[in-house]
Amino acid sequence: MQSLIRLLFAAVVAVGLVGSASAQTPADTLVMAKQIDDIITLDPAEVFEFSGGEVIANVYDRILMYEPEDTEKLVGGVAESWTVSDDGKTITLKVRPGQTFHSGRAITAADVAFSLQRVIKLDLTPAFILTQFGWTKDNVDSLVTATDDATLQVTTEQQFATTFVLNCLSAGVASVVDREEVLAHEVNGDLGHEWLKSNSAGSGAYKLIAWKANDSVLLEANENYRHGAPAIKRIVIRHVAEQAAQRLQLEKGDIDIARNLGADQTVALATNPDVVVGTYPKADVFYLGLSQKIEPLKNPKVRQAMRWLVDYQGMADTFLKGSFKVHQAFWPSGFFASYTETPYHLDVEKAKALLAEAGYPDGFDLKFDCINLSPQQDICLNLQSTMGQAGIRIEILPGDSKQVITKYRARNHEMVSLYWSPDYMDPHSNADTFARNPDNSDEAQSKPLAWRNSWDIPELTAEADAAVLERDADKRAAMYIEMQKKIQDDSPFIIMFQSTEQAALRANVKGFVSGPTFDTVFYRNISKS
């Protein structure tokens, strides 16, 4: 339906109906149109949605964090420095002096310890990022301690790679909350959870004034922010689901930034002098999952053939232009331990030969679960066409994203196409799902992507387990690169693209930064000339 709307919209634009009457938003206010109906909570112990993650990244400072000045360099946030014990299990962090919460209270190590302990005790969805350290409700008070007002000690049960622990301490769950404020709103021992869902108690560049579900978010500048007061005093994020409406409002000047435009719309906006289209590389990878329960897909030569039946560059250069780039490894490019080789391209003859060797000279039938949104469905149609050239007859089963994921988690698919975005910026985040499958049985507790595709990989699982413990950064990077090569050579994953966000801004808007993940989007440097 959305494609149809876009098509009709494009047709109307083509006949020149769009006018150029312009309005302006207030100089100290930024109005952003975005699809924010995914926000279900703004408690940092629970947030795991894209839009919610972006909001809390601007409301809470984290223990360690990425800053808008360099979104790929991990630096101190609430903590200004850290040291690691000889056994590698204890990290001592020094809290930056002179910082205050929005309430005006000084930030102490006790607040930082409380924030981490709270995540473990509430045990909500993103808690797994911290429970990896062996922290439980019973031991977290003794493993995460404030030794004085400025010193925090965190101890892990195992000797993990330091980079891994530090990266986890930069995730949303490491947002520092105002202990006194939160506990003042505690109800029935919920550690302020209900209240914090729609209120804030942070120390970030902005404070949350209001969140109306499916409607809008209002933020107000923190005049006492440690980097100085932001130039924009109010940020209004409005839920505008329809891309065409976002574009119209941007061109009219009723909004300053449109965040969800399609590739065709950003191309059309290129000629508008009042609008600038920004391109921001993201860490999401787009892949095909091939179930190892399906007979032809068990054959390594078939999987190899299918890798040669994807028109990677053709898609990236046409309907995906600007929103995807070719990438064929499970960890995105531009980060520690990235692997950027892209050996595969469309080669139908080679694929046919491999299929013949595998015993499928006439191809086979395959069901393909595909999310019924653009551009996923366009990618699926393209794959149906190119794979069909070698005799693989694909039947596309379109579905809503949750429907496709439900089926995928139940291992009832044959082939599926989906995104994967890292939970924290460490390669283990993706290795943990693409290269680990500790229990391939139907009763398995953990359901990583390898499990969902019924891929039994004890050796690779052991390699991933070893990599997360390796303390030598170079060796560790080499281990992840090796795993990526193996998965690129032969696995049930055909990784095709890394995504890119395109946001359209009014020309007078400067300083908007959208980093590689959904929670490295920063508003504090934005200004309007």
Partner: protein, 357 residues
Amino acid sequence: MADVVRQSTAGAARRAPSLLRFARRVGIVAGTVALTFLGLLFVTFIIGRVIPIDPVLAIVGDRALPEVYERIKLELGLDRPLYVQFWRYLTDVLQGQFGKSVLTGNPVIEDIRQFFPATLELATIATFLGVALGVPAGVVAAVNAGRWPDHLIRVLALIGYSVPVFWLGLVGLLVFYAKLDWVAGPGRIDVAYEYFIVQKTGLMLVDTLLAGDGAAFRNAIAHLALPAGILGYFSLAYIARMTRSFMLEQLGQEYVTTARVKGLSEARVVWRHAFPNVMVPLTTVIALSYAYLLEGAVLTETVFAWPGIGLYITNSLFNADMTAVLGGTVVVGSCFIGLNMLSDLLYAVFDPRIRRS
């Protein structure tokens, strides 16, 4: 005295059956309403349980630990048999507890209080426009059947009825918002006013008036004009077509010929004799059209970023947030049933035969 006693006894005897009839009628209506609600809830509940979406996923996401997933599943009662789940939901609803929405994290009743007024405001204005313009247009078309006014109205009605509303919305935005600057863009009010108007009723026009802010009121009208106009056009098209059809039938009746033969003016024949007879079926048409709009015009709400009940229910359904879907369904169902009952009552107002019976 004996006569008085007899009379009063006779009066009581007459009142008793009429009271009995009234009680019976009330009982039948209440029973019908209760059964309709029960059926509505049951069907919606079953649909929510058979759609191939895992409702736990909507809450915990795709990456939650197994124990978190299991805990939420138990909290939702999804481990229990379907009939137990339904009974639990039903008893909660009867106690006025609609549960909590997964997507918004709010009690469903609060969400409905937030989203429904937006739809109510839009639907009411649209229906008002539809009736105010559609009924006269239908009458004019019928009176001029086969002539150019009839053709013109039929074509306009056909366009309104057959062109997708979302497309009209997009074109409307391009022309009246982007090009001509006659109306405001998507949303219910400008950012400059949004957080300063106290939401007392949830109806933006009323709230801005109550706030005594004339500029905000005008701004709210500017935002409402286009979506209400588009939906009003859709409503007009339907009402005009039906009015024309009803009127044509009446204008062919012998009593109309008789009235004309008696020398009554054409306006009197049409408006005083024929038109009252189409009021009964027309009431049903208007009530259905209004109820349809109250259900929430999802696509219009999407195009105009209008946070209404239609979008709320649709989003909830796509995320298997069945508590929210069921809560919304109860509201929409109530509207349908309420409007049906209202149109039943209006039949009696418009048709003396029904009143007498």
